[in-house]
């Protein structure tokens, strides 16, 4: 277990903050349990292996933050689109061909020089799948879900984002079936860029609200 974070105590089980750090034995046990469950569900006619594959594959290849990035870039270059996006996000996102499960009821909130938005789901891990894909482990972690509501500025600082007192921080706890995406500020120095070049700058973290979009982006 990773103990370099200074907590000084040992956990008996896997550390849910680092999903990929299960021991080989733990992974093996889970693989066996899941194989048994799948065998039962297939035998009873609940699922077919081909459909399981097709479904998982969609979220591995077709549905991810590249979709949300296209929405953001369009909003940056087309003021009328941006207005539609902020008024009826579900319909505006559908204009670009995105929508569906966990994005049936979308809200987009705009970052400005005076307002910074950040999204969480404290009760589980609700997330706008059609535009951002499946959530990263940190978004689902107890550390993020618990603290971003009470100490958003401290959490943002951990992500490298220091906000002045003059900026109003708005935390959005997606506790119902509405799903939230942040429209980040368009960075300076991007005036001559095409919509596709702009989309390439937009990161997942900026659309959750824990980062800003930078011209030289070095993080997913």
């Amino acid at each position: 277990m990773n103990s370099e974070h200074g907590h000084g105590h040992h956990r008996a089980g896997p550390d849910p903050r680092t999903e990929s750090h299960l021991t080989p034995e733990q992974t093996q046990a889970l693989e066996a349990r899941v194989q048994a469950l799948e065998a039962v569900l297939v035998a009873k006619g609940f699922v077919s292996p081909a459909t399981l594959d097709a479904l998982a594959s969609l979220y591995e290849h077709d549905i991810g933050p590249m979709n949300g990035a296209k929405v953001v870039a369009r909003a940056w270059v087309d003021p009328a689109y941006k207005q539609r996006l902020l008024t009826d996000a579900t319909a505006a996102i559908a204009e670009l061909g995105f929508g569906g499960l966990q994005g049936e009821h979308m809200v987009v909130v705009e970052n400005t020089p005076t307002v910074h938005n950040v999204v969480v789901c404290t009760l589980c891990s609700c997330y706008p799948w059609p535009v951002l894909g499946l959530p990263p482990t940190w978004y689902k972690s107890a550390a993020y879900r618990s603290r971003v509501v009470i100490d958003p500025r401290g959490v943002l600082r951990e992500f490298g984002l220091e906000l002045p007192e003059s900026v109003e921080v708005r935390v959005w706890d997606s506790s119902a079936e509405l799903r939230y995406m942040v429209l980040p500020e368009r960075p300076a120095g991007t005036e001559g860029m095409s919509e596709a070049e702009l989309a390439a700058l937009v990161t997942r973290d900026a659309m959750i609200g824990v980062a800003k979009v930078c011209v030289k982006s070095d993080r997913a």
Partner: protein, 219 residues
């Protein structure tokens, strides 16, 4: 229920650990659990019942297991509770009872169509006329139901303002327990950070949360 899942406002979990270039799934079992859960959603039980099955996990297990293990535990719990599988079947992977699925397994194209179309949780607006309007002052009711609720502890008893009326949505508190959808209005409610967290919060910061009408009373 006042469960371990209701994490908002706790500060004891340490730094937020991030993983660079994180894969969508960390292992084949996560991929299968994700897909099996999605494919049986609505057949085994409702999404609200599924969330509640996660909330009913032993709190120590909840905190020491990973996200897709929560899903696995909840799926197994609901299958067992509805008598759709037996513990022996889950242990062995061998089926002893007849086929029990109420519908034939979805072919891939049908599932992809559902992903693209979604499963809306809103219902016709005429189900119940909204009691509140934007700008109305409200208090989140001090309720502590023993079942499923989407009213987190950190807003209970706190004073906020209606920011937006979202429409009429399935009520999770009944839908998680076989009590039907009982749709009602959902509001975006704005709370000042200081109302929730006291004087140490930044003066201008706010929190918006979506709450069903039965969670609210006039201020």
């Amino acid at each position: 229920m006042n469960g371990i899942h209701d994490l908002g406002g706790m500060t004891c979990f340490g730094p937020i650990l991030r993983e660079e270039n994180e894969p969508v799934f960390h292992a084949p079992w996560e991929r299968r659990v994700f897909a099996m859960t999605m494919l049986t959603m609505g057949v085994v039980d409702t999404l609200d019942a599924f969330r509640h099955a996660i909330e009913r996990m032993d709190p120590v297990h909840y905190l020491t297991s990973t996200y897709y293990e929560h899903w696995l535990a909840a799926l197994e719990t609901l299958l067992l509770e509805h008598g759709l599988v037996t513990a022996e079947e889950l242990a062995t992977g061998t089926v002893r009872t007849p086929v029990t699925s109420p519908r034939s397994p979805l072919p891939p194209e049908a599932m992809v169509a559902i992903v693209r179309r979604g499963v809306p949780a809103n219902r016709p607006a005429d189900q119940r006329t909204p009691r509140f309007r934007p700008g109305d002052q409200v208090i989140a009711r001090n309720l502590h139901p023993i079942g499923h609720t989407r009213l987190p502890r950190y807003v209970r008893g706190k004073r906020g303002v209606i920011a937006r009326v979202h429409g009429t949505f399935v009520y999770p508190d009944t839908n998680a327990h076989g009590g039907g959808e009982q749709p009602q209005p959902v509001y975006s409610v704005c709370f000042m950070a200081r109302e929730l967290w006291g004087p140490s919060a930044a003066e201008r910061d706010r929190l918006y949360i979506d709450l069903w009408e039965d969670y609210l009373q006039e201020a």
